[in-house]
Symmetry: C2
């Protein structure tokens, strides 16, 4: 049980709420902030003044108003000055980006990752080098307020330790700590599961904006998921919530990397599709998946049967998630985007069979709006979380 | 985005928080409230004075302190004066109870319900009669602050309309509205899904106290579930979240009442167990389930095989939920309590096979602490929700 907040806590809450608003919605007039936040004009002015003094926002006249009278000043995030580093450790690639307040990617580096055993050094090394390169190119008056990484594996809440990553061979890796040491920015590195962060990204900036109950399904070698329930990311007791790829849909089915049988991942992941299409081994990755979908489009019956089989299991998995979560939207990302687009009728038909009518009648099925950068965008939002929760405190610690 | 609260909102929040504390934890000394709520003594005194004046709590000297010096006054909920009606529409019974602030059942009426098609009149009629009988027996200075019902079916958020109840034949029944009309207490009747309310009850007053991530599984004719995620009940977009009984675990499996095949409900519900034990038709209900478990205990190989089969599917269902939710605890209620106790080894063995090690290593499997009254206790908590959110407002409306 928590008691109500003090005046100072309310001020900090409001500073964060205002900053969060311009961060997510972009430049906003004082008049609109007044109405959206339900505060009076003088409070908005005072909050804006504090954030301006801290160098987090600036106020300017709008370009054109089209209205008579004195225009309301527009509050704009200091995107060029305040930034975070967002990192993405995927199965096939490593990405580092410098992302400005407001969400713009200011700079970006990427390298391919060879599939195979996970090496901490081969992961942390290139990412740290990318961050240093980008850091050197920043102007002296810029300030880094956070660092976060998306990781294709299970990440324990709080400590940035990767507990499992069956498709990368990672287990109990102190990734966050080592990354922070190598970056030497004096900032901790928050780490999140890739699909969880992608779900958050689609919820905040993608196809799921305004949608408080959303399931994001990501496919690559593995299948991961992220669940937004009532506007909040489902973490679970230790942070491993949302591992929907290891929901068993076919107890008599294919062996899964986790040791079980018939997991959603085993039935709809990259390997399941390529094997069903008789193409496993010759090609791998997204291109190989796209090749199956376009072969099916051209009438290749083997490819069509493969997509139909995988789409059927995908539909069953989605039906289970619809019954369990009653989401407003299910979003397909990674190779599942291609699979869904190539087998939407099959997915829908299975869904109609296995999902409760009341739970599916308002359901929307969508593909990712942010594409493969959903995880990176999610990592940036995780990195911004602290400064949005308590802007002045974080800025003070960042030494500006 | 919401702005921070006003002083008056903080006061109301604190009044609710204090009342909630004594409601859930029982009589509490001012000193302990001061430390638990993180407020100073004078604030606690003022809040307690307001709640005392409203007749919601009273202060008294503790029976014995065992310490020297002036003892801290104990704040006690006015359990005999402030109450709610809690209703339970189960498959086999109808229950109405008068529950005092603090959670004590002050009065209670119950009648058996014949399984079969749902009749609004045959449900609302007896419950309204029970409530009237109990109401007549209250003292003149008592006040009813809420009414809520648990219903064995899917209930749409907010409007109390039962959208589906495949095991009771209910569909689109305006149960809350009709119940409120018949009670004529001038109060709305909140309605919740029975398993969702039971989950909340176990979280607040049962085996899951202090546990913020919990899955409750209830079995009768049907199998329902309630999920507490991060301390909050998972509702989903329309309120149908947690229908884990319709998660397909065996696509080649038994037909389910929902029209699908191999749902958890179809594989582990009452009928699945009784049919596997060759006992379907002769007996039904909890007694029949108990008879199978005790036959297995006595060495009946058919009963043992039936429990083993059902325990295996139950273990698979639990494994899926563990991977999806990463809960701290799974609680078995209804006939699933008996099934779990009779097949715990099977459930554990399947769990070890299909649940991710990181997600299950801290998992606790437990049986309900509240038994068949979990739904009723949950309904009472739903009925108290308003007065705990804003004590003075609700009391003013109740006309005290």
């Amino acid at each position: 049980m928590r008691a109500g907040p003090s005046q100072e806590e309310i001020r900090r809450h409001n500073l964060g709420a205002l900053l969060r608003h311009v961060h997510l919605s972009g430049p906003t007039s004082r008049a609109e902030l007044t109405s959206r936040m339900g505060l009076n004009r003088s409070t908005i002015m005072a909050l804006t003044a504090d954030l301006t003094a801290a160098g987090l926002v600036r106020e300017e006249l709008p370009r054109e108003t089209g209205r008579a009278g004195r225009p309301s000043l527009v509050v704009r995030p200091e995107s060029a000055r305040v930034y975070v580093f967002a990192l993405d450790v995927g199965v096939d690639r490593l990405v580092a980006a410098r992302v400005g307040l407001g969400g713009a990617v200011l700079d970006r580096r990427e390298t391919a990752r060879r599939r195979g055993p996970f090496s901490l050094e081969e992961t942390v090394g290139p990412l740290a080098a990318f961050a240093r390169q980008m850091h050197r190119r920043t102007r002296p008056d810029t300030v880094c307020v956070g660092v976060a990484a998306a990781f294709a594996g299970g990440v324990a809440q709080g400590d940035g330790i990767v507990r499992f990553g069956p498709n990368m061979g990672a287990a109990d890796v102190p990734f966050g700590e080592e990354m922070a040491r190598r970056l030497a920015l004096g900032l901790p590195v928050a780490v999140g599961n890739d699909a969880n962060l992608a779900a958050m990204a689609e919820h905040l900036r993608g196809v799921g904006v305004g949608c408080r109950d959303l399931v994001y399904l990501h496919g690559d070698v593995g299948v991961g998921g992220g669940v937004i329930a009532g506007g909040t990311l489902l973490g679970g007791h230790q942070g491993f919530g949302g591992e929907v790829g290891h929901m068993v849909v076919n107890p008599e089915g294919r062996r899964c990397g986790c040791g079980s049988r018939g997991c959603l991942e085993a039935e709809v992941g990259e390997r399941a599709l390529l094997e069903a299409a008789g193409r496993f081994g010759s090609q791998i990755g997204r291109e190989a998946v796209r090749a199956v979908v376009s072969a099916a489009d051209r009438g290749d019956v083997v490819a069509q049967a493969a997509l139909s089989r995988v789409g059927d299991w995908l539909g069953l998995g989605v039906a289970n998630l619809v019954n369990v979560f009653n989401p407003e939207m299910v979003v397909f990302g990674g190779m599942l985007r291609e699979v869904y687009l190539g087998s939407a009728a099959q997915v829908r038909s299975r869904l109609n069979l296995d999902a409760l009518p009341a739970s599916r009648e308002r359901l929307r099925l969508r593909t990712t709006a942010l594409g493969d950068d959903a995880t990176l965008v999610g990592a940036a939002e995780l990195a911004f979380a602290q400064v949005l929760a308590d802007p002045l405190e974080v800025l003070a610690r960042a030494g500006s």
